[in-house]
């Protein structure tokens, strides 16, 4: 969970940067995790990427496809 969260947020930061934005300009995040048991494991990594004024966020426990443990989407300012 920690590794997947780190990879996704790293990729998200790269994508935003490629578009001239950054994680600091994210306003809303949806986090889908396979089990809410992993909530704190996800949070501990997530926290590193959004150290101040973090985005609004919703976290839900769901069944994910492809064996992944976590999926994250966001809305950001350009």
């Amino acid at each position: 969970m920690a590794a997947e969260t780190r990879q996704i947020l790293t990729n998200m930061g790269e994508l935003l940067k490629a578009a001239g934005s950054s994680l600091a300009n994210v306003v809303k995040v949806n986090v889908l995790i396979y089990s809410m048991i992993e909530y704190e494991n996800m949070n501990s990594v997530y926290r590193e990427f959004f150290p101040t004024d973090p985005p609004a966020r919703t976290v839900s426990g769901v069944k994910l496809i492809g064996g992944r443990k976590v999926e994250i989407e966001c809305i950001a300012l350009a």
């Binding site: 809303k28 396979y34 959004f50 609004a56 426990g61």
Partner: protein, 123 residues
């Protein structure tokens, strides 16, 4: 690139409803950008105790929407200005009851919404 809209954190006037601060979780209650407000996922938190107000689904939905109204009003907005909501129910059997309560809060021109059934939601 054009000038970026200012991005600011919004918080409920009632500190008991500031779940993200009280539970020290890494999200803000809401973010404002320009004329738009984005709220974090909200639940039936008791505005007096700050604890979870668990009970019948109708009451949980009423409490959640009252809290949402408080959040929006704290930022100078309101339920009548919502454009999109996502509802997450632990049990889809509660769908009709949710809709019944929904109409109490959104009598005219309700927001766009969609509903997810998430059986694994319980923590």
């Amino acid at each position: 690139m054009t000038d970026r809209l200012p991005r600011s954190v919004i918080e409920p006037k009632n500190p008991k409803l500031n779940v993200s601060r009280n539970a020290n979780v890494p999200h803000s209650p809401g973010i404002r950008v320009g004329d738009y407000i984005f709220l974090s996922g909200m639940g039936p938190v008791d505005p007096v105790t700050g604890g979870r107000n668990l009970g019948p689904i109708a009451e949980q939905i009423r409490q959640t929407l009252r809290n949402m109204a408080h959040m929006l009003e704290s930022a100078g907005s309101g339920l009548d200005r919502i454009v999109k909501i996502t509802v997450v129910l632990a049990d889809s059997a509660d769908y009709d009851e949710m809709n019944r309560v929904w109409r109490e809060f959104f009598p005219v021109d309700p927001a766009g919404s969609h509903h997810l059934r998430l059986a694994a939601q319980q923590r």
